[in-house]
Structure formats: structure tokens, C-alpha cells
């Protein structure tokens, strides 16, 4: 990472901390006195300040970075297999619109129907576990230095996509991992993140990205939430399609606001009476869930206790979620909730990563950007069916968390 970028990071961090400290100066129920307090202008003033701080914090609290948002290099640089560390085929079902800029492939606008694609991504030999080495603006397309998309294929119908997918699933032994990204995530961010997870975890099955239409802007929190809500039926369709392939087992890894889409979809599958995809649903990993705790409980009540407990990864130093909590009325989100036993009673396994180091100051992506964590999760996902090993690996993740 260039030195200049890093120093910029530090400044942003200081600002975030300052913003959080400032917001701490106001009592928890900062507008509770509306209409009753004698001094209306004071309460408006406090509200203004809070909103300003929130806005400021949102400006700098992106879950994703500020790269070019181009998935394909403008020039494809040929590379021989020996020059790269890995080449991964990522299958994609997306509710994003096709971008007018062919290098971006899909953008942040919503499509009325699902679009299907496959993108091949190469991982550079200099890759460090937990990192995504991204090309920044002005740098050359160098697959020996950066994650690079080497090929993008669109499928114009679902049967064509399903048949390509099926061939890949057969070739890889019948396992599928569906990744559902979070808020403020461009198509490129999601493709690279899934590639990194697959690469670092040594996942042997077929990776499928479900990409909903995040605007990829920090100020688009509500737009993103609406896009996520609009994508529920499409995620259900995607999961059902996968269940109809030769896949033996479908694991789901969801992050941040992606856990909201995932829980909604599992909930409605449960309402249809097929909550485990005819027995094919494997692990459900919910990392840093950006879901209101009460909403999550209502979703779990409707789903019922899972046969295989969902795995919740949370961290009470998650700064991105602290912000969501702040704008949601100072209520905890699942991903920074401190009462693990309360959640566990709904049939989930809670893994507290508070003591694990994150790669950035937000601590919102530890599951993937902490090198040990992503490997542990990989190990967990590689374990084949069977409940005997369940406790084992979760215990090991816990031990790591306790170190």
C-alpha cells in the first residue's frame, strides 16, 4: 500500500474518533425533551449537531474503499499461470443494472430482473492473507501486483447461467458458497472480497456472489437499505436455483447489511415451508450483522431455531455499526451487541471477535481481513457435512478470539 494512502487513512481515523468522542458528549436520549423542554432552540441545536456529526462520520465510515470501481482493467494484460497466485471463477447473480461503462460491468442502479454473469479474478503472487491488493487510479494493470479481473461473461437467461454453474459445481465436488456483501459496496468491491475469501480460506467449492444494488456511497445508507429490501425475492430465487443444481450443500456467508437480505430471505423461505432448501442449506455465517437487535429476534422467531445453529460473528469495537446504531436511535445492532447469551437463545452460535485485530480502524470486516480468522472460517467451511466437527471448529475460532 502506498505510503501516502496510509497517512490519509490515519487522518480519517482520527476524525472518526473525534466524531465519536463528540457524539459521546450528548446524553443517550438527546431528543427526548422535544416539546417539553423550555428551550426549543437548544434542542434543535443539539439535533443539528448530532446530525452533522453523523453525516461527517458517514462520510468517512465507508465499509469499502475509494478505488476506481472498475472491475476490468481497460487493457487486459496477458499473464502466464506461473506469474499469479490463483485464478478464481466467481459466479454472479445480481439485481444491479448493467453499467454503461463496460469496465464497471454492473453499477449501483437497480435492475427489475436478475442479471447473471461470471467473472474470473487473478490473485497476485505478492498477496498477503486477509488483504485485497487493489489497483489504485493511475497505476498500471499489473496482475503480478493487484487483484485483476481477467474475464467477464454475461448469461442472458437463467437456464444458461444454471447450466454453466452446474458444470462448475459438478467439477468441484458439489459445494457452493453464496456471499452476500454489505452496505456501501460496489460490484467490484464484492467480487474482490469474495475472491479474497475463497483464495485465503482455500474453499474448494463454487463461489457465487449475490450482488444487490448498493449505491457504493457512504451517504446512501437508506438507498442501500431499500435496494436490499427490493432484492429479497431475487436472493430466494437464486438459492432455490442452486438447490435445484447438483449441489449437495449450500453455505451462505453474509456481511453487514447483506445479513439483513439473507435473514429476510431465509425468513420467507421458512414461511413457504422450505427453510433449509430441502436439506441442502449448510452453514449460515452472519458477519457483523447490520440488523436492529429487535428486528433480528423477530426474524429468528419466524424462522424458528435452525437445525444447525447460524454462526454470528460480532465485535463490540465495530465502528461502522456504532454509526448505524447511532442513526437508528442509539439502539444496538446485532453486530456490536454485547449480550451473546440473549442472541444464543434464538438458536445461533455467537462468536465474539472483540479481541481479534481488524485490518482497519472500523473493525467491521474482521471475518475476512484478519488473516487467522479468514483461514479459520475456511477450515470451518471445508469441514464436510456432519455435526461432529461443528463444535470443534467453532471452539477453535473462539479460542482464537480469546487470544
Amino acid at each position: 500500500m502506498p505510503v501516502a494512502r496510509r497517512s490519509a487513512n490515519f487522518s480519517w481515523t482520527r476524525l472518526t474518533l473525534a466524531a465519536l468522542r463528540l457524539s459521546g458528549r450528548f446524553p443517550r436520549r438527546w431528543t427526548a425533551n422535544r416539546g417539553r423542554s423550555g428551550n426549543a432552540s437548544e434542542s434543535v441545536d443539539v439535533r443539528l449537531k448530532t446530525i452533522l456529526i453523523t453525516a461527517f462520520a458517514l462520510l468517512i465510515a465507508g465499509c469499502a474503499g475509494h478505488q476506481t470501481q472498475e472491475i476490468l482493467g481497460s487493457v487486459v494484460v496477458p499473464t502466464s499461470a506461473t506469474e499469479i497466485a490463483g485464478n478464481h471463477s466467481i459466479f454472479i447473480a445480481t439485481t444491479r443494472k448493467r453499467s454503461d461503462d463496460p469496465n464497471k460491468v454492473f453499477d449501483g442502479e437497480r435492475s427489475a430482473t436478475l442479471n447473471y454473469a461470471r467473472v474470473n479474478v487473478t490473485v497476485p503472487p505478492i498477496h498477503q492473507t486477509g488483504q485485497i491488493e487493489r489497483r489504485s487510479r493511475g497505476k498500471s494493470n499489473d496482475p503480478t501486483k493487484y487483484f485483476m479481473a481477467s474475464e467477464a461473461v454475461g448469461y442472458d437467461t437463467q437456464p444458461k447461467f444454471a447450466s454453466a454453474l452446474n458444470a462448475d459445481i459438478d467439477a468441484r465436488g458439489g459445494r457452493v458458497m453464496v456471499f452476500v456483501h454489505g452496505y456501501n459496496t460496489g460490484f467490484d468491491d464484492a467480487v474482490y472480497r469474495l475472491t479474497q475469501i475463497v483464495h485465503d480460506s482455500g474453499y474448494p467449492g463454487t463461489p457465487v456472489l449475490f450482488s444487490w444494488a448498493s449505491g457504493a456511497k457512504t451517504t446512501d445508507y437508506v438507498y442501500d437499505k431499500e435496494s436490499a429490501a427490493a432484492a429479497r425475492d431475487q436472493l430466494e430465487v437464486t438459492l432455490r436455483m442452486l438447490a435445484q443444481t447438483g449441489a449437495r450443500r449450500i453455505d451462505i456467508v453474509a456481511h453487514s447489511m447483506g445479513t439483513w437480505v439473507t435473514m429476510e430471505t431465509l425468513r420467507q423461505l421458512a414461511i413457504t415451508g422450505d427453510r433449509d432448501l430441502s436439506g441442502k442449506l449448510g452453514d449460515v455465517v452472519l458477519a457483523s450483522p447490520d440488523i436492529d437487535v429487535d428486528v433480528f429476534k423477530s426474524q429468528m422467531r419466524r424462522y424458528g431455531k435452525p437445525d444447525k445453529p447460524f454462526i454470528l460473528l460480532l465485535s463490540d469495537d465495530d465502528r461502522a455499526l456504532r454509526l448505524s446504531g447511532l442513526i437508528a436511535g442509539s439502539r444496538p445492532r446485532v453486530g456490536d451487541y454485547r449480550d451473546a447469551a440473549d442472541l444464543a437463545s434464538y438458536g445461533v452460535t455467537v462468536v465474539d471477535l472483540s479481541k481479534v485485530k481488524g485490518a482497519d480502524s472500523f473493525n467491521h470486516t474482521k471475518f475476512a481481513d484478519n488473516p487467522m480468522m479468514v483461514q479459520m472460517i475456511g477450515q470451518r467451511l471445508r469441514e464436510d457435512d456432519g455435526f461432529a466437527s461443528d463444535r470443534d471448529v467453532t471452539d477453535r475460532i473462539r479460542q482464537l478470539a480469546a487470544q
Binding site: 422535544r34 446530525i51 452533522l52 438507498y223 436492529d292
Partner: protein, 398 residues
Amino acid sequence: MERFAALGGPRVIVRVEIVLGLAIALAVSGCAGQNAHDLLNRKTITAPASDIAARHEIFVATTRQQATKDPRQVFDGDRSLTTLYARVDVTVPKIHQVGAIERAKGSADANPAKQFTATDVVHYGDAQQFAKAVGADISMRGDRALVFVHGFNNGFDDGIFRITQIAHDTKYPGTPVLFSWASSAKATGYIYDKDSSTAARDDLEATLRMLAKTRVKSIDIIAHSMGTWLTMEALRQLAITGDRDLNGKLGYVILASPDIDVDVFKKQMIRYGKPDKPFAILLSGDDRALKLSSLISGDKPRVGDYGNAADLANYGVTVVDLTQAKGGDGLNHAKFADNPILVQLLGNRLRTPAGLASDEPDPAQLNNIGQGLGKAVGSVAEVVITTPFKVLTIATGG
């Protein structure tokens, strides 16, 4: 340094300005009034019976917590894990003006001779007791129930008084049932409210199913603002269970000023399927509250201020465009209830049970009613109705 260059300077200033604008707008744009949200009086105030126009019994299913800190609020903005049940009796004063809610100022006691007054609250211990009481009332009043689902930034009191005003001004012949979800009743509580309404979906579904098990023949729903999101979610999941019309008992579904993203609404309608009886969407191009929702959700239109009625009608809804009609306040977010002509037109429609009403509003009849009412109130406006089949223009007044 790239990130500095990209984020520093004018862009930050522009954003800060937007945020400032938002903050000011939020500060002034409550859907509900600036009351203290006290529902009950400190001490009983009596008024001569001749000063009271009517007394309404409002049945309540709520996901709010019982208010312990401010018992006068009865239920507050915190969320309950289970549905709680109650009945609130409200009197309407003789001096009441159609479309208005005459309320006591601040936390003052209400005078029944001048203001809407909650005179009694009954709490039911469980769903069975409530079902029995509401069932008895439904049988007594002629087998119809009206469920009202309030919007964003509403206290428990706001919902109670609004449904009372609607029941009173529309002369609704059945049992009024308020479904009150845990809105924080704060203009800044937008996302808290959205989460509260989402957490209440299963409770609303259970309440509708409970009503359907009584001897009710027709369950009408009026939802307002963010309450339309909750209502559409409950109807959507009823559809997923295969019982989208409550065993044929679902009557009118009226979605007023829907605070739902247009794309999300379309997806909900696709999952629901075209209703047998088109849902009615009441919208207004000058809805200031929804302008704000649009702004914070990335400049995307909300259903309640969407300009393309025909696009919505494709999904099996009837769109009633109230842009030309006057609202009771500067927000134009509750015209359906606070415009005296509109609320009476609504009443004319509601008093015929949905099962007996034709899908196609009769323009001549509506015109007569509208003009009659308009003469009485002295205002002129045009209401444009777009059905899945055609477009009607109704003159109200003149």
C-alpha cells in the same frame, strides 16, 4: 492523497449543506404534532352530554411497551417483544370540524367539551380476552372492522386520535382497530421507526388473522405513510402463506401517502400478485414529508409522491392523485384524513362494504358527492383517479 483530493473541498461543503437542509427540514416536518404525547388526563374533567358529539371505542393491538415512566401516555415508543391489547374510549366534541383533530395543548388536560378526550383505557391480559371483546363489538356493530396503521413520527396518542377522527368523519359503521407499532414519535427517529415497523410485521399478520377468525365479514385496512410499508409487508407474507385475502374477508386496502421506495413497492406487489380488488393508493405530488424520505434514500421517488400513476396501476392498484386538493397543514402528508372533502368522500366509499362495491368508481356519482361537499366546504379541486383500466377526473367542489 487521492482520497483527500476526492473528498476535500467543494464536495464536502455541498454535502454539509444538504445535511443542514435535511436537519432543518427534519426539525419542522413531524407528521404528527408537537404534543407531549399524553393521552390521559391527570384528573377527570366532565362536560355536559350536549357538548359531546360521540364516543368511540377504539380497540388496540400494539407492539409498544406500556408506558411506566409517563403513565399518561399509556404506551410509549419502546418496543414490546409481544403484542399487547387494549381498548381506549375517546369522545369527540360537538364543536369538532370535519378533518380536524381538536387537541389539548402540550401536556394540558383535555376538555371533552372542546377537545378529543380519552376517557377510559381497558387492558386485556392476553390475545384470547381481546379476541372475545373485539369479536363481540364486531358482531354488535354489523360485522365490519377497520384496521388503521399509523405512520412515522407518531405517538400512541396520535394514532388513537387519528383513527377516532377517521371513524367519526367517515361515519364508519364497523369496529375501529388501531394497530400501533413502536414509533419513537421523534422527527429524528426515522431509522428507529423503520426498524420498529419491520419488527412488527408478524404481530400485524397475527392481528389480522385474529380478526378474520371473529364473525367479521369484511376487514378494511387504512395505512398511512410508513404504516403502508408495514401493511404491505404483512399482506406480502400472508400471500406467501397462501392466504392473501384472509379467507376472503379482506375488504378495502387504502394506502395513504405511502412511504415506500417505488422499486420496493413494485417487488411487494409482484410477490402479492394482482389483488382481486385493486388496492387504493392515495398520493400527492406536493407531499413535503415524502420529499424528505426521498432525499435521504438517494433521491429515489416514494410511492406517495410518484408522478407516474399508470406505472403503478399496472400492478393492480388504483391511484388517486390528490395533488390538487388542499392539505390541512403545510406538509400535505395526510390529505386523505385532514381535508374535509376527501375524508367524507372516503367515508362514502367506505360505508359500502368492499364486497358490494363495484371495482370501478362511478364518476357521475363521485362528481355529485364531490361537488356537493365542495359547495358545503367552499373549496375547488380536481382528483385524478387512475385504475388498472382507465383514468377518471373527479371535480370536488365548484
